[in-house]
């Protein structure tokens, strides 16, 4: 097993955990946490492919990861604000209860 594939394996595991969390949890905050995990699995992939890729001297990978984390932070802020707004309205954060978008 090379170093890259072990990183990718860890990244895939992290993604699977995040997906599982996002799919199984009812609480919106926990779903958000799961999504953050999947996002970080992606970041890990960026770093791994950059570090073991053909041009490790250029800082492309780390820049990607930093931008991605910045965007994720902004996204988390928006997501949490949405959850608070939803909670104020529905008095719950249980996603099964919030189905007003049903067609």
């Amino acid at each position: 097993m090379t170093a890259l594939s072990s990183y990718l394996f860890i990244s895939a595991l992290l993604f699977a955990i995040g997906l599982a969390g996002a799919l199984t949890r009812r609480n919106a905050i926990l779903v958000l946490i799961g999504i953050e995990l999947m996002l970080n699995a992606g970041n890990l992939n960026f770093i791994a492919f950059w570090r073991f890729g053909p041009h490790p001297e250029a800082l492309t990978g780390i820049m990607f990861a930093i931008f991605s984390i910045g965007v994720a932070a902004a996204e988390a802020a928006v997501g949490l604000a949405l959850i608070i707004a939803v909670y104020r309205h529905y008095k719950t954060t249980d996603l099964d209860e919030i189905s007003s978008m049903r067609g």
Binding site: L23, D96, S99, M101, R102
Partner: protein, 701 residues
């Protein structure tokens, strides 16, 4: 041109204006309506006298007596249709007669109609009639004459049906209007023909009028069907109009029924003026009737048109006089007498020319108006009783009416020398005896004189002599008639002065008028032709004059004696015993009483045909034209039913199905949109996994 010629239109305009004003007057303004009518008629009479003196002066100075005033009225294409009026001796005599008799009858109506609630309307119609009649008389255009002719027809309709609450009056009005309309149709055709041939309808127009030389030459030169000249054809058509208006056979049926109107109306319209309009029309267009072609234009008494006039007149004179013998209604007797006398006028025109016919027209207007107004006075005095058998002995109760009525009766019968009717009738008989074509009209007219004397004697004996039968019938006449009778006492009474005064004036004129047309001083004949005359006893010595006078006197006395012998010898016992003639000759009497069954003949031929054809038209309408329409409508209903079922079962159903499918699809798809974010995420996850697997598998392949 003299002032009166320019302003001749005022004579008809004044009564017409009075009619217009009183049409707006409220119903209860009786005095206003009566004074408007009488005042305007009085002014018209004054103007008419002006016109007469103007013509008299023209005759005396031996200048042109005919003056016409024309004005353009209506433009048709490049032509102007002209109207106008003419002042000549004929017009002058007629306007004076119409306005004078009209004035007296207006005054009389104030008394006769005093109790009628529609007094104002009556005078409005009467004034309108007078205006139209005077317009007819002064017209210088056949068109203007026709317009006025129709207005007098209208007022005749309105006044016959004045008591329109009575069904018989309403029916009589319709009958009069429709019957005269048949004649008017011919008149209109003749007029149109004349216009197309002559290019003008003016009588006199400085040599270009349709009664003047240049046009007559053209009319005589052309011939039409059966070798008739155009002038004859036109003259006969116009004469048929006169037949309708003047109640000649075969269109006489309306005049007896017209007696349903108020008696002043009968006197004015159906005795003195309107029915004489037909005679006047023939007199007016006399040049057209008498014109004869050939090398040089001449006027003779034996043209086809004048022969027809004479024969129709002669037949009518005897026909109507014989019917009058068997009538019981005081006014119907006079109506048939009027028809008969109009026949005499026609004979006079046919055989003797304008003067002979017109002289009888004028004298007849006076004595027949007198008789009708006397009859009105009798009816008024007997509480609306009209049956002469229920009267009797009225000379004791109504001396003035009796005296004037007797004068009128003697004038009508032609009592020798004293009365106007004798002279005018004698002129007709004399002219008829010298007619070249046939002597038969003369004999018929003589028989007519006998019958006239007979039926008038019968009437006077029934009404004024014998025993009074009024009391027997008064009971039911009281209950049957309206409230008017209640105000009176039950015995007959003399009429008020306002009614008797016109009677006296007319009676005086019935005697005096004869003086202007005796053979010794034929002033009237000379006046109409614009000549002067002088008194000359040798007029009697002309061949046949004295003989005719003697003959008519003998015939008159025979009629009088026959009447007296049958009805005067012993007084009639009761009003229910059959007439003396009926006892002796029941069948003939019945035929005469029903007017030779002319009415029922028309009922069974013309009217039956009209009824039948209207039924046939109705049937055709219902079944043929209506059927075609119905078939078309059925077809359209069928087509629309088809298209409706197509809509419902094909278009709608397909559309509904499509809609349903779309709706089902939408429902199915909407189930995917559960609103649960996690299920979306799950689907994305599964899809992602499938994608990854696909990529892996794809690479391995």
């Amino acid at each position: 041109m003299a002032w009166i010629v320019h302003n001749l239109w005022l004579i008809p305009a004044l009564p017409a204006l009075a009619a217009g004003l009183s049409a707006f007057a409220p119903r209860q303004s009786r005095k206003l309506a009566a004074s408007l009518a009488i005042g305007s008629m009085f002014l018209s009479l004054l103007l008419s006298l002006c016109a007469l003196t103007h013509v008299l002066r023209a005759v005396a100075q031996e200048i042109e007596t005919r003056q016409a005033f024309n004005f353009p009225w209506l433009q048709i294409g490049a032509d102007w249709l002209q109207l106008g009026w003419v002042l000549d001796p004929l017009t002058a005599v007629m306007v004076v007669m119409v306005s004078f008799v009209g004035l007296l009858i207006f005054i009389y109506s104030v008394g006769y109609m005093a109790h009628d609630e529609n007094f104002t309307r009556f005078f409005c119609f009467l004034s309108l009639f007078a205006g139209a009649m005077l317009g007819l008389v002064i017209a210088n255009s056949l068109l203007l004459l026709f317009i006025c002719w129709e207005i007098v027809g209208l007022t005749s309709y309105l006044l016959i049906g004045f008591w329109y609450q009575k069904p018989s009056a309403a029916a009589a009005a319709k009958k009069a209007f429709i019957t005269t309309r048949i004649g008017d149709l011919a008149f209109l055709l003749g007029m149109v023909w004349l216009y197309s041939q002559a290019g003008t309808l003016l009588f006199y127009d400085n040599g270009a009028g349709c009664l003047e030389q240049s046009v007559l030459i053209r009319l005589v030169a052309q011939t039409t069907a059966a070798g008739m000249t155009v002038s004859t054809g036109i003259a006969l058509l116009i004469f048929f109009g006169a037949v309708g208006k003047s109640g000649q056979v075969p269109l006489h049926v309306w005049l007896p029924d017209a007696m349903e109107g108020p008696t002043p109306v009968s006197a004015l319209i159906h005795a003195a003026t309107m029915v004489a309009a037909g005679v006047f029309l023939i007199a007016r267009i006399y040049p057209l009737m008498a014109v004869h072609g050939g090398a040089e234009l001449s006027f003779i008494h034996t043209t086809t048109a004048l022969r027809v006039v004479t024969w129709v007149g002669a037949i009518t004179a005897v026909f109507a006089a014989s019917i009058a013998v068997a009538q019981d209604d005081i006014k119907r007797i006079l109506a048939y007498s009027t028809i008969s006398q109009l026949g005499y006028m026609m004979i006079g025109l046919g055989v003797g020319g304008v003067a002979v016919g017109m002289f009888h027209l004028i004298t007849h207007a006076f004595f027949k108006a007198l008789l009708f107004m006397g009859a009105g006075s009798v009816i008024h005095g007997c509480h609306e009783e009209q049956n002469i058998r229920r009267m009797g002995d009225l000379r004791r109760f109504m001396p003035i009416t009796f005296a004037t009525y007797a004068i009128g009766m003697l004038a009508l019968c032609g009592f020798p020398l004293l009365f106007s009717g004798f002279w005018s009738k004698d002129a007709i008989l004399h002219a008829a005896s010298e007619w070249d074509v046939s002597k038969l009209p003369f004999y018929l007219a003589t028989v007519g004189v006998l019958l006239t004397a007979f039926y008038m004697t019968r009437q006077v004996l029934y009404v004024f002599f014998g025993k009074s039968h009024l009391s027997a019938s008064l009971g039911d006449s009281h209950s049957a008639s309206n409230t008017v009778a209640v105000h009176h006492s039950s015995t007959p009474h003399e009429s008020p002065t306002v009614m008797t005064l016109p009677l006296v004036i007319l009676a005086a004129l019935s005697i005096l008028l004869g003086l202007i047309g005796t053979p010794a001083w034929p002033w009237f004949t000379a006046f109409l032709s614009g000549q002067q005359t002088h008194f000359d006893l040798h007029g009697f010595a002309e061949n046949g004059v004295l003989a005719t006078m003697l003959l008519s006197t003998i015939v008159f006395l025979a009629g009088l004696a026959l009447g007296w012998w049958l009805y005067g010898r012993k007084s009639i016992e009761s009003s229910d015993t059959p007439d003396v003639l009926e006892q002796r000759q029941g069948k003939i009497f019945n035929v005469l009483r029903s007017g030779y069954f002319v009415d029922s003949l028309y009922q069974h031929t013309v009217i039956a045909f009209v009824t039948w054809s209207s039924r046939a038209c109705d049937w055709l309408d219902r079944w043929i034209w209506g059927g075609a329409v119905r078939i078309v409508s059925w077809l359209i209903v069928g087509f629309s039913w088809l298209s409706r079922s197509l809509d419902i079962f094909v278009v709608n159903r397909g559309f509904d199905q499509g809609c349903q499918n779309i709706s089902f699809g939408g429902q199915a798809l909407s189930r995917l949109q559960s609103g649960r974010t996690q299920s979306y995420l799950r689907i994305i996850g599964v899809a992602f996994a499938a994608f990854v697997l696909f990529l892996i598998w794809g690479h391995h392949r």
